[in-house]
Amino acid sequence: MSSESISNVPPSVKGVDRDKDMSSHPINVESKGVNFWYGDNQVLFDVSLQVPERSVTAFIGPSGCGKSTFLRCLNRMNDLIEGTRITGELQIEGQDINAKDVDVVLLRKHVGMVFQKSTPFPKSIFDNVAYGPRIAGQRNRAYLADLVESCLRQAALWDEVKDRLQDSAMALSGGQQQRLCIARTLATKPKIILMDEPASALDPASTSRIEDLIGELCNEYTIIIVTHNMQQASRVSHQTAFFFEGKLIELARTTQIFTNPKQKQTEDYITGRFG
């Protein structure tokens, strides 16, 4: 097969240094032999991987291969679905998150999540961002105002909404809503941010804003992003994981996955032979 079809890796977004040496970063997320079932239907098979702190990891793979399922394991959102079962070990900062004494509410504050479909609450922009801290018991108005501003700035939304913080969030455009959801997640001060196809419903301009945003956030947060867009995966991530039929086929540096994958299946997928 010709190698040129996979050799054109687009330049990375600002802030993501794909060649950065991550070996000094502590391991933030570690999965050891994770299996997962919906009822009797096993959808994850023996998934083991490591994610270093303050890096971006992209999950790619054909539809239905279990990317979202694995992502939801990391903040235990699968608990909400009846009849699910998980075996193996998932550690976040060295702690087994499926242990009996783990406080799921704290875990979810620690591991934020941004969904494919933007999900603003039918409240004002301000209340959307302040929701997380408020339910955590934060009542100090001045503190909340500062926090909302800094989160909206980090999410590159402040300039667009600073004059209408009290307006309904439902009136924002799709791209703005998605950035609002990111700001809302940042407000709970997570360490890890999970993004499940955050830009798949957005136009190219909004998509590239989200990508730039990931470049800025990755100096502070550990980010795991699911995407069907190969270009996007290669632009924003340090390492890329390829899932196929519930198995983790390959996890390697993004530049390596896109230029010189070890597994035949990965290569076939990236070159568009299937999926």
Partner: protein
């Protein structure tokens, strides 16, 4: 082609006739009632209680009776109904038992009201004869006297009405909760909210218009309901208002009467109307006046429900 056009236009005609004839019947009915009621709808009509002389008959006792009945019904049925719906929709896992309950709720909503009347008679009015001739419970150092069994008191009627509208309240609340997109739930939980916080600060506010509308419609059903009240002993010939409260001022300033009112005997608007209608031709116009008042109250309730729903529709869009 022509045949199809003909078919379509004649179908339209039939539908139109159906609508207009229904409206015609309704309008005729209303105008007859209004016309009959004209001479009676004076201020005095609202200031008088029951009387054997048509000229002295009024609806005051009926209005105050309905007021107490409906307020107590709302106090009993709304918290229980909304709580039950929240439990069924948000907490209960999908077991055979919860499925059984959910299915039977709609069956309960369809049970004829007279059956609830009989239930209320045994359970609340007589309390299965548990207390023999009856006892009096003195609470709050004599301020509150609770007769057991409740007998033919407002509270027995209100508890019966609560049972009657509970299924409706639960079902409409369930529907309102189900209409809240699941993404709101997941998003809130993913931000580290507890189940309770999610329900309290996201789901209930978002479904409040639906819940209120359902509650108002259920309550207005209770206002017009007659059969079960006859069973549980609303008194047709009743001159007095529960607790002897005859003005808003007394209601707000005399707590002892307020506490006593639920255990008093009572009449209600539809019961008064029923009483007048069965009292012979001289009372026809009195009954008509009562009907107009009752219809007015019901229209107000429905109007509020429509207003809330309309406003919510304009405000919330996902």
């Amino acid at each position: 082609m022509r045949r199809r056009l003909l078919l379509s236009s004649s179908f339209r005609l039939i539908c139109r006739v159906a609508v207009y004839s229904a409206i015609l019947v309704l309008v005729t009915l209303l105008s007859v009632v209004l016309w009959l009621a004209m001479e009676r709808l004076t201020l005095q009509f609202f200031q008088r209680g029951f009387s054997l002389i048509p000229d002295r008959a009024g609806i005051k006792a009926g209005i105050w009776g309905s007021f107490w009945l409906i307020s107590l019904t709302a106090i009993f049925s709304l918290p229980v109904g909304i709580g039950a719906a929240v439990y069924l929709e948000e907490y209960a896992s999908d077991t055979r038992l919860t499925r059984l309950i959910k299915v039977n709720l709609s069956n309960l909503a369809g049970v004829p009201s007279i059956v609830y009347g009989m239930l209320g008679l045994t359970v609340f009015v007589r309390m299965f004869g548990m207390f023999g001739r009856g006892i009096q419970l003195n609470l709050l150092s004599g301020w509150l006297v609770v007769p057991l069994p409740f007998g033919k008191s407002v509270i027995a009627g209100a508890l019966t009405m609560s049972l009657l509208i509970l299924p409706v309240v639960i079902i409409t609340t369930q529907e309102a909760l189900r209409a809240v997109p699941g993404t709101i739930r997941t998003a809130s939980l993913a931000l580290g909210a507890t189940r309770w916080q999610t329900i309290w600060s996201q789901i209930l506010p978002a479904s409040l218009p639906g819940i209120t509308t359902g509650a108002i419609l259920a309550i207005s059903r209770a206002i017009g309901e007659t059969a079960p009240l006859i069973m549980v002993g609303a008194v047709t010939y009743c001159r007095i208002c529960p607790g002897g409260i005859e003005s808003v001022q007394t209601l707000l300033t005399d707590p002892q009467r307020v506490l006593a009112a639920p255990f008093d005997k009572y009449t209600a608007m539809p019961i008064s109307i029923y009483g007048w209608i069965t009292s012979g031709p001289p009372f026809m116009s009195v009954a008509a006046a009562g009907i107009v008042v009752l219809l007015f109250v019901l229209t107000c309730f429905n109007g509020i429900a429509v207003y809330i729903r309309q406003r919510a529709r304009n405000k919330l869009k996902w």
